[in-house]
Amino acid sequence: MPFIPHTEEDIQAMLATIGVEHIDALFDEIPKELRCGELNTIPPGMSEMELSRLMQARARADGQPLCFIGAGAYDHHIPAAVWELTTRGEFYTAYTPYQAEASQGTLQLLYEYQSIMTALTGMDVSNASLYDGASALAEAVLMAVRANRKSKSKRILVPRNLHPVYRKVTRTIVHNQQIELVEVAYNSESGEIDKQELQRYSGEDYAALIIPQPNFFGVLEAADELTDWAHANGMLAIAVVNPLAMTVLKPAGEWGEQGADICCGEGQPLGAPLASGGPYFGFLCCTQKLVRQMPGRIIGRTVDMDGKPGYALTLQAREQHIRRSKATSNICTNQGLMVTAATIHMTLMGSEGMQRVAAASHANTGKLTQALTSLHGVESVFDGPVFHERVLRLPIAANKALRALAAHNVLGGFDLSDDYPELGDAILVCATEIISDSDIENYRGKLERVIASQVETPCQLKPDW
């Protein structure tokens, strides 16, 4: 009986104490006709050894391709210590720290996390995590609608160069509350939010403007100007940032005259492995003014009966377990362990280390762009400055090119043609600090051959007149 410690003797003694003959008698309040039989379609149990072999085969099947996809999930070096510490049983198998005295480890760590996040984003306060970047944005939108006292609107301005899935997720989560997301075009030259388009909304009643930094194209926005514009128009400014980029970019809290009001994003670059998309974590920071509108757990530093510093969940009156239908969000379980990893990760990297990672990623993407655009017909689509991603246009069908590269174990980038058909055969590429010069050369060489073979094929079919 895996994971069940009962001996036959224990079982008999326990049944005798309860006063029943069989365990099945304990289910006698369940109407008989509802009882189910064997779960035959589930295979019988496996030993850990058998399962290890199965999982190893599965893991091997997926190969370990050389990957130039970013698009919201980035492969960074994670110090070995991070996950060795994070998976210590005391962190890994604790519950949400409801009993503060028996959870000071997790609580202090979360407070440290909040401290680091406010330093990184330049905001006043941080919560202790949300599910992921996309749902964090949805929460930020809900929060903005609640918080913007100047506006009666339930409309939000969303740039089209924001991650397409973030737009979808936000819509899924907020639309039942009659919140409307209004899309703002991007400038087809720079890749930035189109300022002229934006002017059309001047003076109108919108609850907030979302400002991605960088945006989905990797391009950097004029965050100061956009923030000031939002504030001038009675909107809150919601920053959606790559937290690694924050180590070298102007932090959201310092954007424009007053700073962004809310800053959220995907925490994955801070120590979470790619892991097929999760678990990652969403972060959410805001100004002091908005703290009572925040969703999610918040940890406060306080003192115990002896005046000794200690940590506890605080402002719980915002939360579902107290406020139920009036809570700021339904979130309960969050992504605590990921934040544990992120805190350890950022502590090990330090400011200097994080900045170097950011700079190396920026530089490598520059090298990659240079290498690929050296190929005939490959060109950079936007001319705005980027952080560590770049949109490139290929001289052949993007999906075919990517498929051919994948067959050679190179994942060449993210195909933009579904989400941005207007860009043609465009792909989004990324090279973080872990990419070496020879990786770039590997990609360039393979792309060159793929292009050559695809460009030639139709030629050969041309009638020879």
Partner: protein, 482 residues
């Protein structure tokens, strides 16, 4: 505090790229002027700090943790190891299907397993936790009514014993909530339910066994009533552990459910998460399931997306939910196998009933003494609070001194001075006996030296904390010597 070890210029050098690359491609107006104030410590200082911090936690791996409604059972270490194999941990979420068959096979099979144990028609794994599962479920209920043009339904019914996420999720879906009282036997008040049903009621959210730890015996009747009134039934799967392989929500008549894999399928709680809250639905709700899901096509796995499911409520996260948690749950499910599933319900129920019986014998009051416990049960310390002036919180805190995590306190709200106790199937009889002894000792202390209990804990890294100060003089981030 990690910042207390921080010194300007101190670094864990091996971790950073050896050089600072050129950032001149970024206009200086967009750059930050000062380094963010992160801790600056050596690698050893970090390791030592966080190792020592970890030791200040109670956890399943160190303590009995009978936290009701949370299913704090053993989290097999293999789940972590196998979910972290290089090919899996390094897979980019947007890797093409050709490079994802191993991963997708696990997800597909997990979907199938969850369908079987719940009796539902289809499952989507994407919700990141129970509450997001609830959101997805209620959103599907709304989508279903909307699709039928039945747009007047504006309420979700919720028992007064429901977990806070239930009403909160309903509200996030744009519904109002109406509370249904619980009867004195722990079952829902069916008459109250009847009068709440009507054309305005979109559905009801139930937990079964309920949050008071008993099986809702009239569930079939309830289902019929709700369905007859045009509503749908939502099943909160937080307590699925109690009935795994015994009775299935699908067979009880539920239309949509969520599961907490971080409870029933033993993925770790990680000090607050991550979890995974897959949703299962009956056939009529299938079109609305959140995407992505995994389909199998002649032996090949492929993603089901918005294109395949145009009526889907959409996406809930940037990729495919908490994939790593799903893998852990998959490993757990395969380790258990079909026969292991039944046993989860059997032994968690055996443990709860045994512990309840022993505690009653030791002089404690069950909230529902006539009822069978499910995998958990409620004690009420009302009598002790009144007679001895020692309340549930005091008992809970004193328990920490005895090396046991406290059960859930003051939830559900309808039972005064309650302790919700869930021992789980992975605890041995000795551990339960020890718990009884501890409770008895605390009771005796409460009788003879109540201050000892009221002032507890005495042996933790801190004593009771000043929550009022925490909320009034907000200190939410370290500001250093500013």
């Amino acid at each position: 505090m990690i910042y207390e070890h921080s010194r300007k210029g101190r670094r864990a050098t091996a971790q950073a790229p050896r050089e600072q690359a050129d950032l001149s491609g970024i206009p200086s107006a967009l750059r930050r002027e000062t380094q963010p104030r992160l801790p600056e410590v050596s690698e050893m200082q970090a390791v030592r700090h966080f190792t020592r911090l970890s030791q200040k936690n109670f956890s399943i791996d160190t303590h009995f943790y009978p936290l009701g409604s949370c299913t704090m059972k053993y989290n097999p270490r293999a789940c972590n190891t196998l979910a972290s194999l290089p090919g899996l941990i390094g897979r980019h979420p947007l890797a093409p299907e050709t490079h994802s068959q191993g991963f997708m096979a696990c997800l597909f099979e997990l979907q199938e397993i969850l369908k079987t144990v719940t009796g539902m028609h289809a499952v989507s794994l994407t919700p990141a936790a129970g509450a997001q599962g609830e959101f997805a479920g209620v959103a599907m209920i709304r989508a279903y009514h909307d699709a039928r043009g039945d747009t007047e339904r504006s309420e979700i019914l919720v028992p007064d014993a429901a977990h806070g996420t239930n009403p909160a999720s309903a509200v996030m879906c744009g519904y109002k909530t109406r509370e249904i009282p619980t009867g004195s036997d722990g079952d829902i008040d069916v008459d109250a339910l009847k009068s709440a049903l009507g054309p305005q009621a979109a559905g009801i959210m139930l937990t079964n066994p309920s949050t008071v730890g008993v099986f809702e015996r009239r569930i079939k009747e309830i289902a019929e009533l709700v369905h007859a009134a045009g509503g749908l039934l939502y099943y909160d799967g937080a307590n699925l552990n109690a009935i795994l392989g015994k009775v299935r929500p699908g067979d009880m008549g539920f239309d949509v459910i969520h599961m907490n894999l971080h409870k029933t399928f033993s993925t770790p709680h990680g000090g607050g998460g991550p979890g995974a809250g897959p949703v299962g639905v009956s056939q009529r709700l299938e079109p609305y399931l959140p995407v992505p899901m995994v389909d199998m096509d002649g032996g090949d796995y492929r993603w089901l997306t918005e294109k395949d499911r145009p009526a889907s409520i959409g996406r809930l996260s940037a990729f495919a939910g908490n994939a790593g948690v799903l893998l852990r749950a998959y490993v757990y499910a395969r380790l258990l196998g079909r026969e292991g599933m039944h046993r989860v319900a059997e032994f968690s129920t055996l443990n709860a009933n045994y512990l309840l019986k022993r505690l009653m014998e030791a002089g404690f009051d069950a909230a529902y003494p006539e009822r069978r416990a499910s995998h958990e049960f409620i004690l009420t310390l009302k009598r002790q609070a009144k007679e001895l002036g020692v309340n549930t919180m005091d008992f809970a805190k004193r328990m920490l001194d005895y090396g046991v995590h406290a059960p859930t306190t003051y939830f559900p709200l309808l039972v005064p001075e309650c302790l919700l106790v869930e021992p789980t199937e992975s605890e041995a009889k000795e551990e339960l006996d020890n718990f009884v002894e501890i409770m008895a000792s605390i009771k005796q202390e409460a009788e003879t030296q109540p201050e000892l209990v009221i002032q507890a804990p005495h042996t933790m890294p801190v004593r009771r904390l000043d929550d009022v100060r925490a909320a009034r003089e907000l200190d939410l981030a370290w500001r250093g010597d500013e």
